[in-house]
Amino acid sequence: MIESWLTFAAGRTAELWVRTGEHLVLTGLSTAGAILLGVPLGVLASKVRTIRNPLMGTVGIFQTIPSLAMLAILLALTKQIGIVPAIIALTLYALLPIVRNTLTGIEQVPPSSLEAARGLGMTLWQTLILVEVPLALPMIIAGVRTAAVVGVGIATLSAFIGAGGLGEFINRGLALSNTQLILLGAIPAALLALIVDGSIGAFQWAVQRRHGRSPLEAIVRWVVRPAALVLPLIISGIGVYAALASRQENADDVVRIASKSFTEQLILGEIVAQTIEHHTDRTVERRFNLGGTMICHEALIAGEVDIYPEYVGTALTAILQLDGTRSAGDALETVRNTYTERFGCIWFDPLGFENTYVLALRKEVALREQLTTISGLASVSNSMRAGFPSEFMERPDGYPGLRRTYGLSFANVRDLDPALMYQALVSGELDVISAFSTDGRIEAYDLALLKDDRSFFPPYQAALVVREDLIAEMPELGPLLRRLTGMIDTETMQQMNYQVDHHQHSPREVARQFLESMGLVKENG
């Protein structure tokens, strides 16, 4: 097991280094930002009583904002994805320990030292710089240490907004249910946290004011002190360089394709990317695995990405907040018109399949109870145990609406991770789950699906959403992308998902095979 993982990791060392570098840049820059902002704020809080509580409250609130929500808000504010909003988010998260420790450190300065500072004729500023901050320094460094170590952990979330880092492996692993990939992100991140903790600990030791009696200790201290100061500078340097380098990539002929972070989206993203790469000279930038519908959408309308695959029903209910109960044609028409007017984005014709919510049961249960429709399920639901993913539990077009429409009352409803949900159904711990109709596991586990006989679920045809500006700049992309219209039926999508989820093929490979089999790209071309 360990050996096979090491082999797996060895094949990805190049990317591992890049991701580790990005991770250090994210953590380093955000911690540096939090120091520059947090120490003065802590000092201010210690000096100005009236702002103390409001300030500490605000800084505390940042910590309670869920990370995905924070990223979505920052994306909306900065109109950017990538390193900028990620670093702002991480900086805000790192503020609390630094501000609080600065405040505590300054308040713990002995009154005798303050009295002496005044009595010897120090100005307020001199007292601060020569006495209070140096005496609070061990406490401040302890706060920085906490912030940096926690920051290494939180920085894994930056991948959701396309900022890279070790979270990239974790997200990809989670989307593809690939444990080896998850570990490839998680293990280095844990090691990094230990290293960061250790080096700040060493710095803390080196700045301790003590009369160095052993010459060795003095030499070590002499080395550690500047090293700990220079290291963040180097990291910041790399960060600035990386930011500049990535800016150059945003040249004119680059097409930026996004996807959400689950298998089907990654495959669709690859299909679009490879089609464009094969037929044009344009450079394709893959900004996959973004953290959900809102982040993809915000990135699109901010002009940070050009194309991503979306579902009509999701756009209708989650993005536009409209009622979802309408015909497929009407739904697409509504979404299409609204997007053109409000966002300057085009909905292409659907790709051919629908990825709707379905309720699934083990086949023998469906046969025993003679169930084919959700209406039928309603009459026996009080003896059934259900399990749904948390998003389905919350969405108006999910369980809350479904229950009302059909009058369902399950014996027990549990909130579960999708991967666990299938396991629980197959092993008999659950009787009903909600699934995506294109999920390969439906066929793999031979599940029975119930018909939505009251048309509760909105139509969920998949289609590409594209910025109008892109088509204006690169008119050849319009006809090219239209060639994908209607090419992917539900069964094909299910099979492709199954190839990735179950057989661990890469989305790139599966997309390639699909395009070749459809004659959309030439073999070995």
């Binding site: 005798s112 010897l120 120090m122 001199q126 006495v131 004011r209």
Partner: protein, 250 residues
Amino acid sequence: MISYRNVAKTFLPAGPPVLSDITFQVETGETVALLGTSGSGKTTLLRLTNRLVDVDAGSIEVDGVSVMDQDPIELRRRIGYVFQGIGLFPHMDIRSNVSIVLRLLGRSASEQQKRSDELLMMVGMPPDEFSGRYPHELSGGQQQRVGVARALAADPEFLLMDEPFGALDAITRDTLQQELLSLKQKLQKTIVFVTHDIFEALTIGDRIAVLNDGRLDQIGTKQEIIRSPATQFVKDLFGRPRAQLEAIDA
């Protein structure tokens, strides 16, 4: 010369005065011991002198200029201060502690070092051994010597000392008192020395000012005070130790 004229101070609004109607002068080169029980206002009088707090009424003149007309920061740098709690900076080594006022005055690093070495030598702490140490590595008596050296760094004309030897054991205190006497002889500073210890006042002070509940009961040489105490309080104050000594002898 430091002169106090009708000085009064109250901390709480409408509260009892901490000091009222204090008038006396400290002549140039003279040491006045401010003697009083705790709460008598002696530390407050010291703090008024370099404007750590400001007077409510009356005036204090240092070198003939009212302290209220002087910039408090500059005033404090001109007056050496030895603190009750010593107040060495725990994050600075001994050399930096001694030369801190010179640093505030913008003197060069080499001058700071030279002066710090001189002063440490003067207070009996060889700089080679002590310069690089930190306050917590010194004994209480050593720390207080550094406190005195720090107060003398800018060669101030005036020195305010607030029970500098209060927390030390009797033998160390005695040694430091003797050293202070010889320093005083050598340096000819104008010193206000706060103490609650009668013997310390008798040892250090050229004159003794007895403060009683915010009022100046008497100021005079030791002979004057012992022979003709101005109030019952002063009489009791100096009578009690004499009575104790006689009791031990008998």
